[in-house]
């Protein structure tokens, strides 16, 4: 187990290094720089600016400098927000994305696992059909259609919520609901499929024969194996949810990491782009590892191979 984790961590570090390198050089070969949009920048000022941020050094040197400061946990200064570091900006935006993400995740898990379980137990009844249709609709209708439609209906016409913003607790409802339900749909399908596969196995019959209540059979015996596909799905999904859905943050004008990332790419804010990419990639890799470990813990048949 320990060997598996260390080897996977090393592998992740290698992947992370590749991501950093690829992103670093890719953004430098792109036309335009962080200061091209600035109006009235005389050549002297531009030179000063570039000298200040070290942009006049050879590219290889800049790369090594960046890796050096990264090793100390310093993501560098932002090129677009004067006097602010990337660390500060991300520390500012991340809590917002995390709050959005955690509520959405809670909704996704409760609704998704709940519906999937009910559908599997009451297979081929109307409950199953309703739940399965919900799953299919949720997968097929993208958040950027559901989101604006809900805003139209519940915010603009009914007037229950603000159409956008992130100030009052009520502002949290619509974005979290849209993002949560979008992930509840695949989770409910995976739960249903996983449970159906488990429910006719011998150990379930044994549990029933021992006189365990149906509730106990499902929650204690079946769900443990039945949720395996969900656990594998959750690794990357949680990373996506937590770092903020770009679309949700755009629709509802939420000041989170996702929106910041898109803006920073447009602004050629090199360090901020890199910082966001690193944050996202690291989170993705950690959660992937966590979901693999959880899957192995839930199912002894899964052997961890590094």
């Amino acid at each position: 187990m320990l060997r598996f984790i260390t080897s996977r961590l090393l592998q992740s570090l290698l992947a992370l290094f590749l991501v950093i390198t690829a992103t670093f050089f890719m953004i430098r070969f792109v036309p335009g720089g962080p200061f091209t949009a600035e109006k009235a920048v005389t050549p002297e000022i531009l030179r000063n600016l570039e000298a200040h941020y070290g942009l006049n050094k050879p590219l290889g040197r800049q790369y090594l400098d960046y890796l050096g400061s990264l090793a100390r946990g310093d993501l560098g200064p932002s090129f677009k927000y004067p006097n602010r570091t990337v660390n500060e900006i991300l520390a500012d935006k991340l809590p917002v994305s995390l709050e959005l993400g955690l509520w959405s995740l809670a909704i996704a898990l409760v609704v998704g696992i709940g519906l999937g379980t009910v559908a599997a137990i009451r297979r081929n009844t109307w409950i199953d059909y309703v739940a399965s249709t919900f799953g299919m609709i949720g997968i097929s209708i993208p958040t950027f259609v559901v989101g604006p439609l809900l805003v139209l209906a519940l915010a603009i016409h009914a007037g229950w919520f603000n159409a956008s913003g992130w100030y009052t607790p009520a502002d949290r409802v619509l974005p979290c609901l849209v993002l949560g339900l979008a992930y509840a749909a695949p989770i409910s399908r995976l739960t249903r499929g996983g449970l159906l596969e488990v429910l006719h196995q011998d150990f379930i019959r044994t549990a029933r024969a021992k006189g365990a209540s149906e509730f106990r059979v499902v929650t204690r015996h079946a769900l443990r194996g039945g949720l395996l596909p969900v656990v594998s799905f959750l690794g990357p999904a949680i990373a996506n949810i937590l770092t903020g859905s770009f679309v949700i943050e755009t629709i509802f004008q939420i000041p989170g990491v996702g929106r910041e990332f898109v803006n920073s790419a447009f602004n050629r804010d090199y360090t901020l782009v890199l910082g966001t990419v690193i944050l996202y990639a690291a989170l993705l890799m950690l959660l992937n590892l966590a979901s693999d470990i959880a899957a192995a813990w839930m199912n002894p048949k899964v052997r961890l191979e590094a």
């Binding site: 592998q11 992740s12 290698l14 992947a15 590749l18 991501v19 992103t23 890719m26 953004i27 792109v30 036309p31 299919m136 609709i137 997968i139 097929s140 209708i141 993208p142 950027f144 259609v145 989101g147 604006p148 439609l149 805003v151 139209l152 603009i156 996506n240 770009f246 679309v247 755009t250 629709i251 990332f261 898109v262 790419a265 447009f266 782009v273 966001t276 990419v277 996202y280 990639a281 993705l284 890799m285 992937n288």
Partner: protein, 304 residues
């Protein structure tokens, strides 16, 4: 033929002397029959046929061009002249919707084709040759799974000018990983079988064995997964267009129309509702068809 004739029709046929041998069914015919019993999949198939036909043929039959503006008219709700209404520049929404559909479907198909080609070749080579090469190739796939691809696609589109060919390639390059895994798993299972050994004994080259003997036998999973890839690809295109990074005006795609509609929905809700509905219907149909095909072809989700 009048309905009354029907019951007599079989009797009119000359009676066969002996009971004829029952016609055999190929596995594909069996699958087709199973698929036809799945009402939602059939619905999906028909909806896709209708939507694609409308998008390909429709714009030629319409009285309006997709960029034909009528500023005096402005945005109007659905009416007799403009069935789905007009946008703020007085352009006919139905025409723009069908035209945008061409782009969305084309991106969906082309990018899927890219993903399909890379994934199948990569997976087949890894699975067939095996050994160290396989270990290296699949470890690479594992590492690539861990990369934040959505972010890379966004960066690519921001930096390199939102060109539509790049869009195909970028999306295709993201979506091939799962296909490679599925194909590899299937190839590994097949390559031990006797008919492959026979082909080897006959002295066929590896390329011939892979493409002529193995691939035709794993078409089922490939077809299923391709059908399920298309909606993912279309979603990614629409997602990029929604962020303003995909198809650029005056061209349109469903993503662009949804983005425009969302901006103006307060006053002109039909601009959001119709594109959103058509796009969702298409994804819905593709997903149902893919699910139906999976059941009909009895493809178990791949485990490697």
């Amino acid at each position: 033929m009048p309905a009354a004739d029907r019951p007599t029709a079989p009797a009119a046929r000359p009676a066969p002397l002996a009971e004829p041998l029952e016609q055999g069914h190929s596995p594909w015919q069996d699958a087709w029959q199973r698929l036809q019993k799945n009402r939602l999949a059939v619905f999906g198939l028909w909806a896709l046929v209708v939507v694609s036909l409308a998008c390909v043929v429709g714009p030629w039959l319409m009285h309006f061009g997709y960029e034909e503006q009528n500023l005096d008219l402005g945005a109007t709700p659905p009416s007799g002249a403009h069935w789905l209404g007009t946008d703020t520049l007085g352009r006919d929404l139905l025409v723009r919707l069908l035209f945008g559909g061409r782009i969305s479907l084309a991106v969906g198909l082309a990018a899927t084709l890219v993903a399909l080609t890379i994934g199948v070749v990569y997976g087949a080579v890894a699975g067939f040759i095996g050994g160290k090469l396989d270990a290296f190739l699949m470890r690479t796939v594992d590492i690539m799974y861990a990369l934040p691809f959505a972010i890379f696609v966004i960066l690519l589109m921001v930096f390199f000018g939102r060109n539509i060919v790049l869009l195909f390639v970028a999306i295709g390059a993201v979506e091939w990983l799962t296909m490679a895994r599925i194909v590899r798993g299937q190839v590994m299972a097949l390559k031990k079988m006797e008919f492959i050994e026979a082909a080897r004994a006959l002295g066929f080259g590896q390329r011939r064995i892979i493409f002529r003997h193995i691939l035709p036998n794993i078409l089922g999973p490939i077809v299923v997964y391709t059908t399920l890839t298309i909606p993912g690809v279309m979603l990614l295109e629409a997602f990029l267009s929604f962020l303003g990074l995909g198809v650029q005006p005056p061209m349109s795609s469903w993503g662009v129309l949804i983005k425009d509609g969302a901006e103006k929905m307060e006053e002109f809700p039909w601009l959001l509702v119709f594109p959103g509905a058509l796009f969702s219907l298409t994804l819905f149909s593709l997903n149902f068809l893919g699910d139906g095909l999976r059941d009909a072809l009895d493809v178990r989700s791949s485990k490697d």
